[in-house]
Subunit: 527 residues, 2 copies
């Protein structure tokens, strides 16, 4: 295994200009692990951005095939990391081994999927309008458009996915695929893990001949602001809290040259239980929903934080069974002490409200999170109270009972933007509650039927995004191949000779990609 | 002709709650025209946003074919407006008749092009990953993605294109195509024109059965801020000054729910004259460039404001000829008195600088704009002085001489983001100055070779956009069919039955569109 030096990764080298030490912590015991990191100092933030800026021109001009080799090589290097790597992640995050191995597969699968996207070439958005010299009243010039990377991207790792939303996660993979060098801000919760992954990326960059500044990583709590303010950074990817994401968004918007921020922040992921489904399988639903809430100690952006049903004996029975199951769920260790403190604060915040009733869960104590179930008065939502709108990160959820179909619609209208919304429904429910669908569609990035939002497939059709505050920009997704779109912008060439055009736009179509030629999709070369 | 009532257009009706009168002015004489408008009051801004919000759900759920009928009908209604309409625009803007007729054709052609895009259906971005129930270790659920409108869009009309960038211009057409109702803020420079066009849109909406709030228009200088702050508005399109665009951007970013702003603002559109081209056709270039600078009184976002050449006898000769031609160009009437004042201020601002030399142009006086040519010391750009970076809106341009190829590259690196950059070059120039191309590519939305940036084709491949400050978001274009992307966001359906899916995603592919199915592009129905 490679040494964990605890230094910044800048321009393919290590850098140790800072003085402030940062300690890696064992998530289960709270004791220090034998890994100490240096917080990046301001010079190092600038050096990392400068390295990424130098790398941008050569990197973005590589053919997509060359970049796909790089992504495939990163995947190989990460897959080749040994059992010590898996054990290290477990130490830093308290995640179980099976989960870590699954997350690694997902992460390297995601890198390979973006390599496939690069070979497929449709992300280039090639469009050609050939010259029409005879057109009246004015001739048309030759116009050709494709998409290039926006420039160096700052990526902020998330605590809850030390691999899939971290150093070589979806934001990094999609930025690199787009031709954008990355400056990655490692999360303090898994710095040693990040160090191992960054070393893997560097090995992949070296053996595929990438520019030295294509990937950079810095450590430290205070460096994020300087990173987002740095002139060379042209876009930001972030996964974390609403407060943190909004702060970065505000910084980016206040720059002399504002830049886009794709922050995935806060979602309560409503699950709506419709009557016929409740009647047919209420007991099963109580068990399944409890499993979804408790999966991974509720440490998912898509964890169901709000369960809505219509007042009925069936819903009352469901609530009783749900409370029984939630009450029996076992305490588990969270990602780190800070996450547990946030969870406890979130519980205390809602538990103190007069419109909230505690249904199940042991009192919070010790260093493990205890699952909690609450019931909230529907008026909290109808009156626009913000209490229920922000997620509690952890194994807690809130049940809300609505009087009828009209009140259900009113409640759904009251919700802020979400990553997901789930309908538990039978066919007759879908007919009776048809007006619910377009309301949800307008609120979320992903609509589920008879499933649970935890579990996010990495594919072409996935959307892990949604209106604010689920994300800061509803037009993006941070999971799935469409994520690459966030870091691309169109460029048009007017009257350029074939030899000066990028391959994607040359007459003979050397990449063999699909292009929009004079309004028709085609893979044919041009005459 | 329809009556010009001077009232707001809200929810398919007229509204006159405000008290403050606004006068339409004859651009040539400066005298009042017989049209008085009421400034919208705050209630009317809210009512317009509420009407658009009510219209959103039904409008976005219409099939793309229905929306294409609406856009085609708007085009017909505008084409049917009589000679009095053309004359009215001439009165309000001082634009010549041929230009107005050309701009009308462009505007209605643009509406019809978006109608075609709606029929083509690729804007829907349909992606389908079919279920893989046997996949190991976990089955894959059925996932389907397409794109829906973001919500009501606020559009701000530009002074310089009373049709193509105004009431029924590119921002409105692309927003309506995306399924987003529009609240349009009319420009004070052509309110009667805007009134006639809004009436045409309303007739089209009525005869194609659109929701009544699909298009709304408000008048007044102070109403833009309230419009951008209104909670129901989900995106903004703007064409105008850097100051105005940035102010709206800042307002939108500071909202509780921030929204994207697509502001097209400031570009100096550098033209680089390379040596061999200068040697072969310097005299022609001086005449052509002068014509481009003076076209439409220089009132184009793409007017060439910076001309760069390499120190040489040929470039000196070019400057002399360019100065002679610019000095003979005739004064012309600008769009309105405010535009002329801004032009004069812009000239005075740069003329007073020690690094600037005045080469040609009569002293500014009277109510017409006089073409002006300046030469600037290259160090103004190399030292990062902001003086030359912001456009002077009007028939003025600045020549800069660079010492050699290396200094040319340094100057190009110093430029801020641009809508366009133009190379005037022979094949040997392109070989010798090959490193110039990627530098320009990183700065602009459109690269031209041996043409002039004035004149923007409306087509699939056009990009009228670029890095800040050319626009506030380099990922968009405000001209061409890609403009629709700005107002769309992806939504994913997981495990939805065919009957509940939008047509774009149903198995039998009733729209007959191209879709990305399991990673392959296909128009076939699914089994």
């Amino acid at each position: 295994m490679s040494d964990i030096l605890g230094q910044q990764f800048i321009d393919g080298q290590r850098s140790a200009l800072g003085q402030q030490p940062l300690q890696s912590i064992d998530a289960r015991s709270g004791q220090p692990l034998p890994y100490v990191f240096l917080q990046a100092d301001e010079r190092e933030v600038q050096l990392a951005v400068e390295a990424a800026t130098r790398a941008f021109a050569p990197f973005r001009q590589l053919s997509p095939l060359r970049r796909s080799e790089f992504l495939d090589a990163i995947a190989e290097e990460i897959d080749d990391l040994g059992d010590d790597f898996i054990a290290l992640i477990g130490q830093e995050t308290a995640l179980p081994e099976a989960r870590i191995r699954g997350e690694r597969s997902r992460t390297t699968g995601q890198l390979r999927l973006f390599a496939h996207v690069l070979r497929r070439g449709d992300f280039l958005g090639a469009r050609i309008d050939q010259a029409l010299p005879q057109r009246q009243p004015l001739p048309r010039v030759d116009l050709r458009q494709y998409r290039i990377g926006v420039g160096p991207v700052a990526v902020f790792g998330a605590s809850n996915f030390p691999l899939a939303f971290s150093t070589a996660g979806g934001d990094t993979a999609s930025a690199l695929a787009a031709g954008c060098p990355v400056v990655f801000k490692a999360h303090s919760g898994h710095m040693a893990t990040a160090d191992r992954v960054a070393s893997a990326i560097l090995r992949a960059a070296q053996r595929t001949g990438m520019p030295s500044g294509v990937f950079n990583m810095i450590f430290g709590a205070g460096v994020g602001q300087a990173l987002v303010k740095a002139e060379g950074i042209k876009a930001v990817g972030f996964t974390g809290s609403l407060k943190g994401g909004r702060a970065l968004f505000d910084l980016a918007a206040a720059r002399a040259q504002p830049i886009p921020v794709f922050a995935e922040m806060s979602s309560i992921n409503p699950v709506i239980l419709l009557p016929e489904a409740l009647q047919q399988r209420g007991t099963t639903l109580a068990a399944e929903l409890s499993a979804s809430v408790n999966q991974g100690v509720g440490q998912f952006c898509t964890s169901p934080g709000l369960v809505i049903g219509l007042r009925s004996p069936e819903f009352s029975a469901f609530i009783a069974e749900f409370a029984a199951t939630m009450g029996q769920a076992t305490p588990q260790t969270m990602l780190n002490a800070g996450t547990l403190r946030s969870y406890s604060r979130g519980l205390a915040h809602i538990a103190g409200h007069s419109g909230i009733r505690h249904l199940a869960g042991q009192a919070q104590e010790g260093n493990q999170a205890r699952p909690q179930l609450f019931q909230a008065d529907v008026n909290l939502l109808l009156d626009g109270d913000p209490l229920l709108q922000e997620e509690i990160f952890g194994p807690a959820t809130v049940v809300v009972e609505v009087a009828d179909a009209a009140q259900l619609l009113a409640v759904l209208h009251s919700l802020h933007g979400q990553l997901t919304a789930t309908l538990i429904a039978e066919p007759t429910d879908l007919q009776r509650f048809a007006p619910v669908l377009p309301v949800l569609e307008d609120k979320v990035g992903r609509l589920l039927l008879n499933g649970y939002p935890t579990g996010v497939e990495v594919s072409d059709a996935m959307v892990h995004g949604g209106p604010y505050p689920a994300t800061s920009d509803a037009r993006g997704t941070s999971v799935g191949t469409l994520a690459i779109d966030r870091f691309l912008r169109p460029v048009c060439y007017q009257n350029y000779p074939d030899a000066c055009l990028p391959e994607a736009l040359q007459n003979r179509n050397p990449l063999g990609i699909q292009r929009l030629v004079d309004g028709q999709w085609s893979r044919l070369p041009l005459g």
